[in-house]
Symmetry: C2
DNA sequence: CATCTGAATTGCAGTATGCAACATTTTGTC
DNA sequence: GACAAAATGTTGCATACTGCAATTCAGATG
């Protein structure tokens, strides 16, 4: 049981290091928002808030800051003028790509320290655990969890 | 690779649910602090700050709030009156115990959905991964990661 | 004793967060 | 079509988390 927690720490450490390495002057919550937009494409503010699990007002103000940093863009839709469309700028996309690349390199390095059979076993075991936890494995290349 | 991230989400979800279930009106950072104090015993403020990876001032003010909630206690040591000794109150201990119990039940429930061999495989795989990540498996019953 | 070092606190600034109130726009009902 | 209801954002208010810099107090060192 403790191994589960230890792995969690290792994963979080990897993620934190990747964000710090690429820097970009974004906080973790901000980065989570950027990843969600990158993964799911331009979307409404409320969808982003729901995906992040935060209040609408929190999302509004986070977008304010991200717009200020030139990482996302606000635009209105002609068919429904209530909604705001949030999308990544080129800089925002570049930041997410950079962090993702760094993180994957880190994880690959960790896995490379294990024998090939072990690597397969880890993936199999984690997948089984994830299914048991009633969480479907992520399908696409970009994960919502791309912390 | 994605399985690793999916598991991370599942683990965080379990932890968050446990905290929410027991409630106690503490934030996640506050709970992390309580767990550290519970796991390592009464300690100086600076040690707590280091363990949490935050600035001393952050720890100071977090302790202010926890004292206000009656979950921790501040006391000075007679031999070195610079330092502050932070310890859990009975209520603080009860809160940590409650969340831990809830979390363990949740994880056990998840594992119970898997075949026995699978359970062993998961533990083995996670341990191997943790070692590869250069993180020693936690020894004691209480983990620093007891998020 | 003077100075330096260590521990904690406080001031300041920026970010994150939720709730409640509000404005605007769309939808639904009569 | 008019009015009520719901959806979407934004803003005000309050609290919490965070780091950096300056300050206070206590030990350690010369």
């Amino acid at each position: 049981m403790e191994a589960v927690l230890t792995v969690s720490r290792a994963l979080v450490a990897v993620a934190a290091r990747s964000i710090a390495a690429v820097g970009g002057d974004v906080t973790l919550p901000q980065y989570r928002a950027l990843v969600l937009i990158a993964a799911r494409g331009p979307q409404r503010l409320i969808d982003l808030a729901d995906a992040l699990g935060v209040n609408r007002s929190t999302a509004t103000r986070m977008c304010d800051r991200l717009v200020g940093k030139g990482l996302v863009r606000r635009s209105r839709l002609p068919n429904d003028r209530r909604t705001v469309r949030i999308s990544l700028t080129v800089d925002g996309k570049a930041l997410v790509d950079g962090v993702t690349k760094h993180r994957r390199t880190d994880l690959a390095r960790i896995l490379s320290h294990m024998a090939a059979e072990q690597q397969e076993a880890v993936v199999a075991a984690l997948t089984a655990f994830a299914i048991a936890a009633d969480e479907k494995p992520v399908l696409g290349e970009e994960s919502v969890l791309d912390l």
